[in-house]
Symmetry: C2
Subunit: 294 residues, 2 copies
């Protein structure tokens, strides 16, 4: 295959993100051989049935042996253990990457487990849906979306360039960033919105029965959007909050202060304050539309 950037690519965890990456790699012919590694037998059957990979296995050793690129697409809480399991199996010069939603942890949990003869280039595609599993993936998921790479200082530049080229080839805009900075930015753009959505939907669950049924019935206009966000995978989000604790708590603190200010204004009927805050917030929407993220 003339487009192939890698001879052999192994993706560990062929769920929403892993299988989408796999589909995109196959569609663009970016790997000589694409290997799907999944611990779950029914998932493997589905992957084989849908012909999403050239090889499908539940066996880490068979999967990663001789791979030029290994991508972890499992919950981030699995990294330390997976790192220890694959470390002795990786060939020299192999690139290890991931798609996890928090990035400092990769340097803390995954990096120490790996041998010095492999290159670690962590990545995070800013794309996803609230669905899970291999059936939920699709090849165009990353098109026109950002992918953030967070290699540690001193990482082999050729390895970084290779991972960059892969995401670029499947339609993503790639940026490089410090892992700590990544975790701060994502704390406010992604982690806090999810925490709030889970909270407000949870608050509704606890309401008295007579109101609760009507909350669902009349969920249009606001609440509905929160239920979609709160439909995201609980395991993934637990892992994110546990592994980006500092940044999330810091942003949550700011949010709470701002919320109290609005609460106070409502209590005391301070309409001008509310109007001014709402007007400021509204202006951001224009920036988001201009940045083509809407």
């Amino acid at each position: 295959m003339s487009n192939a950037l890698f001879r052999r690519v192994a993706i560990i965890g062929f769920g929403l993100i892993g299988s989408s990456l796999g589909r995109a790699i196959k569609q663009h012919g970016l790997a000589g051989t694409l290997v799907a590694i999944d611990r779950d037998a029914p998932s493997r059957d589905e992957i084989a049935l849908l012909k999403l990979a050239d090889e499908v296995t539940g066996d880490l050793a068979a999967g990663v042996a001789d791979a030029d690129l290994v991508v972890l697409a499992t919950p981030v809480s699995t990294y330390a253990e997976l790192g220890r399991a694959i470390a002795p199996l990786l060939k020299p010069g192999c690139i290890v990457s991931d798609v996890g939603s928090v990035k400092q942890l990769v340097l803390e949990d995954l990096a120490p487990a790996l041998p010095p003869h492999v290159h670690l280039v962590p990545g995070h595609p800013i794309a996803g849906t609230e669905r899970s599993g291999p059936g939920a993936g699709f090849a165009s998921l990353f098109e026109g979306r950002w992918c953030i790479l967070t290699p540690a200082p001193g990482t082999d530049r050729a390895a970084v360039a290779a991972v960059n080229a892969l995401w670029h080839a499947i339609g993503s805009d790639v940026v490089e960033m410090d892992a700590e900075h990544h975790d701060k930015v994502l704390a406010i753009t992604s982690h806090l919105p999810h925490l709030i959505a889970y909270t407000i939907v949870g608050t509704a669950v606890d309401l008295e029965e007579d109101i609760k049924s009507e909350v669902v019935k009349f969920s249009a206009s606001g609440f509905r959007d929160f239920t979609r966000i709160a439909a995201s995978d609980p395991t993934m989000w637990r892992d994110i909050f546990l592994n980006n604790r500092e940044a999330v708590l810091e942003m949550l603190q700011r949010l709470t202060e701002d919320l109290f200010a609005l609460q106070r204004a409502i209590r005391w009927g301070e309409g001008d304050f509310l109007f001014e805050r709402f007007t400021r917030a509204r202006a951001i929407r224009r920036s988001v539309i201009e940045a083509k993220q809407a």
Copy 2:
């Protein structure tokens, strides 16, 4: 027109909701004559140009005189004054309705201003967008959506039935509800989500410059949805919060408690608690989809 439910309908405030209602009324031929009343000359020109109404006027007296149905579609803070202004102009048996997002206030502010020979049937269509003005409206906005009517006990049943028939004819499912109950349900399904969206977007506005630009850049996955909600009209939302204070503060109190519980769990690394709360919240999404509000 054979479908006409009313001889003459006047809509005061021909913005997003008013003009959408007007478009739907015209499309289904539900009024002999449709009158658009708007205080804003450029808006009136646009309404005339788009042929959205049979008569367009800035003059309340010319507009509501002889109307069988007058619908207020202005911010709810205008109701007391508008009520006093139209009261002497309304013919006996006229039905007065509205589309405001809070409903106890209608009984407090509008009802006392009206003469006893008219029927007040407040309404609230659970539909909308974050846009404003006559150009933003469209005829199908209310199709398949709920419209909640909150007439006071003892209201003329024929008048309630007439307003019910109007919303039904333009595709809405109509329910009747006590105004206080309405305000409680909407506090959680609509008002709180908007307050939170405004808050979180506002918190982002206040971030240090280097993070702020990246918040917009990487707004996909969560934050983006909040910016859309926070793009809603500041006047309308100020009015809603000032006029549904009790219910909003009560729901906000519950939300804050729940948020603190999650914050604590993050701080102390209590993964099981997070997982359990997220799983509960996720289940609500299914109910929303089943209720066809997704």
